[in-house]
């Protein structure tokens, strides 16, 4: 537990001092979502219908931007060896990295999402669904993304490989995340979609650190 807090604190400190990486994801998120209406036409009846889907697709891509560096710096400068030799288990490291990634990207996306919802003319009734689906969905992106980041350590063109590995795993989050918002816009109950997302989150919390640790072990050898 102390190890987990130490590691998260270090990651946040590095993210704050490093600056650009974390901000880049949220800037990309807002810019990309703002561009869609220019291409599709700003029909006020159409935007709420596609808004939920677009916000979620762009959130997936934004979360992926900083994934590649999640373990790469520690791998290159030998920190990963020392982290492995420390009394803290690799699974704890994986959980700390995913939580820190979520705090530095997912939470920012969560804060920026209502602004985009306004731009897409989403009805007030859909704001709750948007916030809840992002709150449940974005930690899954960080947890599952960590597996991909660990698996592609040391691989050439790891970024492309990472996208190919991870995007299919993100699809269920996209379907139920956007589904919850669409449901709210159309006046359907959003409970089932959010429950499925909660299930995914619990499964990812239990399994992703373990899978990431196995991948890291491979990278250290």
């Amino acid at each position: 537990m102390i190890g987990l807090i130490l590691l998260i604190r270090r990651e946040l400190k590095l993210a704050l001092r490093g600056g650009t990486d974390a901000v880049m994801a949220v800037v990309f998120f807002v810019l990309a979502a703002v561009l869609f209406p220019f291409g599709l036409g700003a029909d006020p009846a159409m935007l709420p219908r596609i808004g939920g889907g677009i916000i979620w697709v762009v959130a997936l891509l934004a979360a992926m931007l900083s994934l590649e560096r999640m373990y790469a710096n520690d791998h290159e400068d030998g920190s990963l060896d020392l982290l492995y030799l420390s009394p803290v288990a690799l699974g704890t490291l994986a959980l700390a990295k995913a939580l820190a990634h979520w705090l530095t990207t997912g939470v920012l996306l969560l804060i920026a999402a209502p602004i985009l919802a306004l731009l897409y003319n989403l009805p007030a009734s859909a704001f709750g669904a948007l916030a809840l689906s992002m709150l449940l969905g974005t930690p899954i992106l960080s947890l599952v993304g960590g597996i991909g980041a660990a698996l592609t350590l040391g691989a050439r063109r790891g970024g492309v490989l990472l996208a190919l590995l991870i995007l299919p795993l993100y699809v269920p989050v996209l379907i139920f995340g956007a589904g919850a918002i669409d449901g709210a816009v159309a006046g359907r109950p959003i409970g089932p979609a959010l429950l499925v997302l909660s299930g995914f989150l619990l499964a990812a919390l239990a399994l992703a650190p373990w899978a990431t640790a196995a991948a890291l072990r491979q990278a250290i050898e």
Binding site: I2, G3, L6, L7, R10, K13, L14, R17, G18, N73, D74, E76, D77, G78, S79, D81, L82, L83, Y84, L85, S86, P87, V88, I220, E221
Partner: protein
């Protein structure tokens, strides 16, 4: 026989045998200076001894016990210095050192360690302004942190620790190693000769690894 012993230790990297049938015995209070051409397996041996790499065959004993029986206990007794300096450019010297000290459960008061390598004036300077030699000094200061703690690591695995150090820093490193050895510690140091070897020669044994071509070498 106490200390570190290996029996018929072998290592395979990418289907190529790096070393095989390696028998080592190092008593507490002694250092082993490892030399050998590039690619002869010094770094691989270090990583196998640290538990970072699995051995292809053979086993390693510490104080008469097989290390695979309790890998956590083995990791706790290892201090490993690799080729890279695991330091974050945006953190200060103190922050870098403190993080590792706390993560390893060592004494988080790191000033004495900075003094030991004469970088106390850089304590609050971010690493990005450090020269290569200063980074190496700070990395080596991790050893001093362990030394100043109650239950510091007993097995030091130093992979070419003197790279980039000026003669003064090499003396500081030698003194740190000698203090560790006088404390019944064990050190394995890979080297390409030089001042460090001479400074600790009285407490050290030598081993030269041969480059393995056909697979049979030791």
């Amino acid at each position: 026989m106490q200390g570190l012993i290996t029996y018929k230790l072998s290592c395979i990297r990418g289907e190529r045998s790096v070393f095989s049938g390696l028998d080592l015995a190092i008593k507490p209070g002694r250092a082993l200076l490892l030399s050998g051409a590039n690619g002869s397996g010094k770094s691989s041996l270090m990583r196998v001894l640290a538990g970072l790499l699995p051995a292809a065959s053979g086993h390693i004993e510490w104080e008469g016990e097989d290390i695979s029986a309790d890998p956590d206990a083995h990791r706790a007794r290892v201090a490993y210095i690799g080729h890279a300096d695991p330091l974050k450019p945006s953190l200060t010297a103190t922050e870098n050192l403190q993080f590792w000290a706390q993560l390893y459960g060592l004494d988080p008061v790191v000033e004495p360690a900075l003094y030991q390598f004469s970088i106390e004036h850089l304590a609050d300077v971010p690493i990005r302004y450090f020269s290569a030699g200063q980074k190496r000094r700070l990395n080596l200061a991790r050893l001093a942190v362990g030394q100043n703690s109650l239950a510091g690591p007993a097995l030091w695995l130093l992979d070419e620790p003197a790279t980039g150090l000026d003669p003064g820093a090499v003396s500081m490193l030698a003194n740190t190693i000698l203090a560790h050895l006088s404390n019944e510690g064990v050190a394995i140091i890979s080297t390409h000769g030089g001042r460090l070897d001479q400074l600790i020669a009285d407490s050290a044994d030598h081993l030269t690894l041969q480059t393995s071509r056909s697979g049979a070498a030791g």
